[in-house]
Symmetry: C2
Subunit: 439 residues, 2 copies
């Protein structure tokens, strides 16, 4: 089962003007669809970060990928891990994508590139063996994977431009009331039973008020999380932790309140000293296995938010799940704008992870049917969960017409990487800069 | 690929009178051959610990095993892990098989039972997919697995009884000179490039002298290790560490010098304070993933000696390998008396483990051609390594005539568990007791 062909399809998908501490999402998010084919004529697909950087890294690995046996992935993994370890030696800011949006963090480019290949290999393997991808990793821990309602403060607008502009499904969301409405709408449609709020956008007091409003609206049975992507100082992080003790209990968490493990460790100590047990999650300070020992020693992170797209794929996700379980840490999953191929990869990864007890993030509600690249259209959710289909591999096939259409759109885009800061200056405030901590 | 049949074949294999701090090996070691068959008529085999305990635990799981899909092993794993965790709660001496020979440690019975099933499943899966077992775990890190010359102090005698008595291949080994001879003979035949001495038998000064004699005979290119199975006090452990600084460098290690992580941590601190970096290995104080965090925090163990037979099989071995790699710990592999099925399972496990940089233990040289249960006879070593064969699954088939013959012998044995202490009293010293620390 050797790989004889590697195709990369850059695509652009309409994306609403949602906010984070990184800035503003552009009218189109960019992704890359990866397709391999084996010498037996079996195709395998994956979806990964978009733009020049991720594409160039995959191209650079083409010679290693072509000829590789889809079952023999260890060699590529070890080669990439070795290179990453060498680059990490003494690299400033190694343990952080604080200043990089996911997909643009140079420190995870090897695991990210590997993941795109590995997931396509597992898809092909699954098709060759007529088994779902999650069953190739030792068996599944669950048949349905829970996701959370991932709320974003947003400006009015549905994403896309011109003829391609989208209806503004969720409307403007810049007040507690609007965010409760956004949550209600998303939960009504998808059935999510857990909520995450992307913060770091408004004054912390307003974000605290949003969380409190969500709690009042949905009650303690719906866990709440807030993620300001490092926008706060240690003092502000402590203050938010103090203000949301009850709201972030019952399965909630505080995610990357401030930058760096040292800062998070300090916030943790100060909150614990007051008897506040709110756990901290991270997908910024911890982006690779090598960051976990320090996070663990400092007790800076209690829940690692993995992402199979940049942690190294499905098998890496199961390694992480096990690792964290042994250390008594929790696991959940980070997301970025994505389509159905990624959603299925994330679902298969999570299905194989028994220690994953927090609903995963997904941006899926922010994309639309018109931009889906899988045959049959958007993946269905049941009670906020994606059910692992009884189909081989990832369980989805590419709609090549859609891929071509989104590819044409990508070709016309003036940008080749995600830059939320530039977009913020362009559309909201010409003087905007990402400042950390902002509050 | 559901399991429709589970067969257990208890067998007895001739074993020479070798010594350890547990006592003396009996004339026959006992093992269990496990054979499953799937609804497609594909058989899978494994080899595990012998006697009533391990057999009864497999029998107790029969209802869970029958009907199980060989690819869906997670459910059984999680059920066993849950039970083990419950039993471990507050269990005295949980983190130790100090007082139990491997195979008789009640705390690892779940992972041990799981492993016997998992390895047979991977063998069956490999046969169904026409792939070697090690390639079902993400791909192999090596094609050949290095083992070490595992030296034992021994009395005269080749093992077996009556018509079944074996030639004494290695002769008596109770002096440094005899142990150098034993090593030479074993290395000449198998090509091993690393040496482990089972200690805890003679006065520590004599064992120190044996290591020094081995160093003189084989030079610094052959790493040396010594394993007294907790026979020493903290003070004695420190003394041995001080005496063998040079001899245990260059890839050597000191294994389970004294009982417990606290003791090993203290020895480690005292040696490090003198600038002695000799790493410590353990297969006694660390026998489950849940023991690693404490071992890591105390810096009591730098090399975990796993054993797929009681750590939970091949996948667990890869999880452990990764786990230790991330923590900067080393990995190698423990052994017990075994035949070719186990040797191949150990080899496949190690082949999938990139972080395994110390040659694995094996008792294989202590068994003979006449007792091998795999078709074609004994597994061949090349330069001390077992090469992963280009065959599906484990790469070996059962010789049923041999299994039957060794089964008849087992039926006639008066004992149903390994008891080295009783054997020691019977054959060497009627008043012998296992005392820890002995020195």
């Amino acid at each position: 089962m050797r790989i004889v062909s590697l195709k990369l399809f850059p695509i652009a998908i309409a994306d609403p003007p949602i906010r984070s501490s990184y800035g503003l999402h552009a009218p189109y998010a960019i992704r890359t669809i990866v397709e391999i084919e084996t010498d037996e004529g079996i195709k395998g697909i994956s979806e990964t970060y978009g733009g020049e950087g991720p594409m160039a890294q995959l191209e650079a690995a083409r010679d290693q990928i072509i000829g590789m046996d889809v079952m023999q992935r260890m060699g590529l993994w070890l080669d990439f891990e070795k290179r990453a370890a060498e680059e990490a030696k003494g690299a400033a800011g190694d343990r952080s994508q604080t200043w990089h949006v996911p997909g643009e963090n140079p420190m995870d480019r090897h695991t990210r590139t590997f993941a795109a290949v590995e997931i396509a290999c597992l898809d092909a393997m699954g098709k060759a063996l007529n088994k779902p991808a999650c069953d190739l990793l030792g068996g599944r821990a669950r048949d349905a994977v829970p996701f959370s309602a991932y709320l974003f403060y947003k400006h009015a607008g549905g994403g896309g431009l011109g003829d391609d502009e989208r209806e503004d499904e969720y409307g403007e969301g810049l007040t507690p009331e609007a965010m409760v409405r956004q949550a209600r709408q998303m939960i009504d449609f998808y059935g999510f039973e857990e909520i995450k709020l992307k913060g770091g956008v408004l004054d912390p007091d307003e974000e605290i008020e949003t969380i409190k409003a969500l709690r009042r609206a949905f009650g303690p049975k719906v866990p709440l999380r807030i993620d300001p992507n490092c926008a706060w100082s240690v003092d502000t992080s402590v203050k938010v932790g103090e203000s949301l003790v009850e709201e972030l209990s019952d399965g909630g968490y505080l995610e990357d309140p401030c930058a760096g493990l040292d800062g998070m460790g300090e916030v943790r100590r100060r909150l614990l000293a007051q008897g506040i047990p709110t756990p901290f999650a991270s997908n910024v300070a911890v982006t690779h296995f090598r960051h976990i020992p320090e996070a663990y020693k400092l007790d800076a992170v209690q829940i690692v938010l993995s992402d199979p797209h940049y942690w190294g794929g499905l098998r890496a996700q199961t390694l992480l799940d096990h690792f964290c379980g042994v250390l008594g840490m929790g696991v959940s999953m980070h997301s970025n704008n994505h389509l159905g191929v990624s959603l299925m990869a994330m679902s298969h990864a999570a299905a194989a992870c028994p220690n994953l007890h927090y609903a995963c993030d997904t941006h899926y509600p922010w994309q639309t049917e018109r931009d889906e690249v899988v045959v049959g259209g958007r993946i269905k959710f049941e009670k906020g969960c994606v059910r692992i289909p009884d189909k081989p591999g990832l369980g989805v096939e590419l709609d090549y017409d859609q891929v071509a259409r989104l590819g044409e759109r990508y070709a016309k885009l003036p940008y080749r990487k995600r830059d939320d800061e530039a977009e913020m200056r362009k559309r909201v405030d010409p003087n905007w800069k990402r400042v950390l901590p902002r509050w």
